[in-house]
């Protein structure tokens, strides 16, 4: 074994200059490919964070079927998103979870007090599950209240309802109502704890028998549900509907699929059930087009660099092997088999590729800190992390590419025969 290692070492030390060129080619290619990968990752996460946050990948927004009527108004001929429908959707193979948002189907209004100013408005109220909005609830106290469906104020017996304010509503208020009426703008982060009054069963249009007021407290804000209304606990929404003899009717549901492979089949099944589905594509097709174009460009660049690396390594390996043909002929006359000679060449190129790839990763890792310190792009948070999976892929490709590229050299060597004197 030691003798075989000695011969492999001899092979490694032969043709140093060409080996150095191959090493540099692999090193540069690996560095370029990792850089392209990082660029791609950063671009995709920028798109995901800034443009595609309303409907994340692997999530389908399901809405009731659209009403089809010849007249301006209809009495709801579209397919209703009921509890039974939600159950059926959650049983579709590939569905991970369903987060329904239930409409409170009774007239509702809110009265808000700003200092001496009182503002009353009709609004929509919807119920959302704890799991769905958990991350938006400001603190543990609010989380407990959401789970329970009501909030206990400090005075004994004084309960209220926790509400989440959609970011869309805050933006509309700040940019519309506040600006038009010279009112102060709302800072979303400071809203938590704000109290106001909600009236259920009563609006400016209609008043139900048994209408009542309920104190409310803002538990935070959310951008998961973009409606022009307020979000209350699902449990509370169900109770309110029940109290006024209304059945549970869902405004929409967000369906999470297990993985991307299940995305299309689940989407089609829900569509076939008569519901309207919205996915990331339908919301921002232009952005997705841009994303696909940039990703295609990056993939093309990675392919180009890889092809150049393969071609260069192949040419170098042919030159290197040809430059050592006398050595191989001598080895062969002394009793080295073709297989052993080929093996030493393959091991040489594999080791060179592995070492060069490792160096490439090491260099990028070292430069990472300096790049992060010196490059600042407004609105973009750069992440230069190379995942373990990427490292494994790069090392494998960096090792296998020179091995594959050295095959023509080996074939050329054997086709030239090793029996010339």
């Amino acid at each position: 074994m030691l003798n075989k290692l000695y011969l492999i070492k001899k092979e490694l030390s032969g043709g140093i200059f060409i080996s150095f060129i191959v090493f540099c080619v692999i090193l540069l290619s690996v560095s370029a490919i990792i850089t392209f990968n990082i660029l791609s990752q950063n671009f995709n996460s920028y798109i995901a964070n800034n443009f595609a946050s309303s409907i994340p990948p692997n999530e389908i927004k399901v809405k009731p079927g659209e009403s089809k009527s010849l007249f301006l108004f209809s009495t709801g001929t579209g397919k209703e998103l009921s509890g039974a429908a939600i159950n059926r959707i959650s049983k579709i193979p590939g569905v991970k979870k369903v987060d329904p948002v239930m409409a409170v189907t009774v007239p509702t209004s809110a009265t808000i007090y700003f200092f001496s100013f009182q503002y009353k408005t009709d609004l929509i109220v919807a119920g959302a599950s704890y799991k769905f909005v958990e991350s938006d609830l400001k603190n543990n106290e609010m989380k407990k209240a959401w789970l329970k469906g009501s909030y206990n104020f400090t005075r004994p017996g004084d309960t209220g309802i926790p509400v989440l304010v959609p970011k869309t509503l805050i933006d509309s208020y700040n940019n519309g109502l506040a600006a038009a009426n010279a009112l102060p703008e709302i800072v979303p982060e400071k809203m938590s704890g704000l109290r106001f009054k909600l009236s259920f069963g009563q609006s400016s249009v209609n008043t139900y028998e048994g209408a009542y007021d309920w104190s409310s407290i803002v538990a935070g804000y959310t951008d998961k549900i973009n409606i022009m209304g307020l979000i209350i606990p699902l449990k509370a929404a169900e109770e309110i509907n029940k109290k006024f003899g209304k059945t549970g009717r869902y405004m929409f549901a967000l369906v999470n699929v297990n993985d991307h492979k299940n995305f299309e089949p689940v989407k089609n099944q829900i569509k076939n059930m008569g519901f309207v589905v919205e996915t990331g594509e339908s919301l921002s097709s232009e952005i997705l087009k841009l994303k696909n174009t940039v990703n295609a460009f990056i993939t093309m660049m990675i392919t180009l660099v890889s092809v150049l690396a393969i071609v260069t390594t192949a040419l170098c390996s042919v030159t290197a092997v040809w430059g050592r043909i006398d050595y191989y002929r001598i080895m062969r006359t002394l009793g080295a088999s073709k297989f052993f000679i080929a093996l030493t060449i393959l091991i040489k190129f594999a080791l060179m590729g592995f070492a060069a790839s490792w160096c490439g990763i090491f260099i990028i890792e070292q430069l990472k800190v300096h790049i992060l310190q010196s490059v600042t792009i407004p609105g973009v948070t750069l992440t230069l992390d190379i995942s373990a999976a990427t490292i494994a892929k790069v090392l494998t490709a960096g090792t296998l590419i020179p091995v594959a590229a050295s095959l023509p050299a080996i074939i050329r060597m054997f086709s030239a025969k090793l029996d010339n004197n």
Binding site: M1, N3, K4, Y6, L7, Y327, R329, I330, M331, R332, T333, L334, G335, A336, S337, K338, F339, F340, L418, D419, N421
Partner: protein
């Protein structure tokens, strides 16, 4: 019987024309025997040696080594025979010029996977017999032609082969050095090695046990 060649043929196609380089050739070699082969350049002497070592495959016929047929189709098997049973000496020496004399001599043992201290001591012993022990750490490329051929002989012997094939070992050497080289080969004969030597030198032909002339792909005993 060390080597038995029966009715081998070898032809090449040159410019679309078939040329018989070896034509129905047979030859037997006993233990401790020296056979000298002479003939004009290009008559097929080197091809015959290459067929014996398995580097070149014959078109047909058979070769037996120690009563066992050689498997020319198996590169692994022929490489093994070449490494362990046959020592080769070439007119161009075929040394690794950038390596030391000792590295060159030990190379067949390295390929065999047995290059321990015993083999190393044997290498020093044969370098001593060849008269170049003091050059063992010198780069082969720095040696004279005669010295290089002695290194080549030492390398051919390191795995203790039973057959030595020498392809014009004296071609590039002066008469005095050639005679020294032949003395070395005679010493190997006394040690029981069988030798096939391709040569044009008269004194070598005279001293061989049997002498053949190669003509039109066949051997004619002189």
């Amino acid at each position: 019987m060390i080597l038995s060649i029966k009715n081998i043929n070898k032809s090449y196609k040159v410019a679309g024309e078939k040329i018989n380089v070896i034509d129905n050739l047979s030859l037997d070699l006993e233990k401790g025997e020296i056979i000298a082969i002479t003939g004009r350049s290009g008559c097929g002497k080197t091809t015959l040696l290459n067929i014996i070592t398995g580097i070149t495959k014959p078109d047909n016929g058979s070769i037996s080594f120690r009563e066992k047929k050689l498997k020319h189709w198996s590169d692994f098997s022929m490489s093994r025979i070449r490494n362990r049973e046959i020592g080769q000496i070439f007119q161009t020496f075929r040394l690794l010029d950038d390596e030391t004399v000792m590295t060159n001599v030990m190379m067949p043992a390295r390929i065999r996977g047995k290059a321990g201290s015993a083999v190393r001591n044997y290498a020093i012993e044969i370098l001593g017999k060849a008269g170049i022990a003091e050059y063992q750490n010198t780069r082969a490329g720095l040696l004279s032609g005669g010295q290089k051929q002695r290194v080549a002989i030492a390398r051919a012997l390191v795995n203790r082969p039973s057959l030595i094939l020498a392809d014009e070992p004296d071609a590039n050497l002066d008469v005095e050095t050639s005679m020294e080289i032949f003395s070395l080969l005679e010493m190997l004969k006394r040690e029981g090695k069988s030798i096939i030597i391709v040569t044009h030198k008269e004194y070598m032909l005279e001293k061989a046990d049997r002498t053949y002339k190669m003509e039109k792909g066949s051997l004619r005993e002189l």
